[in-house]
């Protein structure tokens, strides 16, 4: 039973990672690839971690998996933010809709 859960979570996690991989290969431009890659693996690792917790079933493992998940959630967006920011400023990707940052740069808001 627990092994079933484990396998399911592991497979789901792996699939999410695969999904990101496909996205990174398939998506047409760097911004959309970034969206694909920035998050899917986070959830993927989360799911795999839960899978491990089910497979090993010790308090130790559960604690450490929880720690992995929490830390991953805290750190991953920081990297993505930095990367996205540099892509936006340096690669000037095409924006389909509004670009309120570009508008703001032309008319910079007051800063403290």
């Amino acid at each position: 039973m627990m092994d079933g859960f484990a396998a399911a979570f592991l497979t789901a996690g792996a699939l999410l990672t695969l999904l990101a991989g496909i996205g990174v290969v398939r998506f047409p431009d760097v911004t959309s690839r970034m969206h694909a890659a920035a998050k899917a693996p986070v959830l993927g690792i989360m799911l795999c971690g839960i899978g491990v917790a089910f497979a090993v079933q010790t308090v130790e493992t559960t604690i450490i998996v929880a720690l992995v998940i929490v830390l991953q959630l805290i750190t991953s967006p920081v990297g993505s933010h930095l990367l996205a920011r540099s892509i936006y400023h340096q690669l000037h990707p095409h924006i389909d809709g509004v670009d309120e940052l570009a508008a703001a740069d032309e008319d910079p808001p007051e800063t403290v």
């Binding site: 497979t11 792996a14 890659a37 493992t61 450490i64 720690l67 750190t75 990367l83």
Partner: protein
């Protein structure tokens, strides 16, 4: 061909999961994902593309380690995942700083 045959004939490391069928799919999937990321890493074209791909590859490796931990029912390898979970983004950040300065 013999290489493949030999590889397929060799058992995985000791597993207590009831069915190796349950273990194989995630590893194969992750291997495919890793190769996809590697492809993007190789072709780019922009630097952020490669950074993204490298991050994805790392995620695939980490997921693989987790699967391995599940197979061997060991907590030990997870500590590596923990380390990367906490510090892996620093490399991405540094690379982003590079892009910021030198462009993609």
């Amino acid at each position: 061909m013999t290489l493949l045959a030999t590889l397929l004939a060799t058992p995985v490391l000791a597993s207590s999961l009831t069915s190796s069928l349950m273990v194989w799919p995630p590893l194969v999937i992750l291997a495919v994902a890793a190769l996809l990321f590697t492809y993007r890493l190789l072709v780019g074209p922009t630097l952020p593309d490669r950074i993204i791909a490298l991050d994805g590859l790392l995620a695939a490796v980490l997921a693989g380690i987790l699967v391995g931990a599940a197979i061997s029912e060991s907590t030990v390898p997870i500590i590596a995942v923990l380390l990367v979970a906490l510090v892996g983004f620093v490399a991405t950040g540094a690379l982003a700083r590079y892009v910021e300065r030198r462009g993609g």
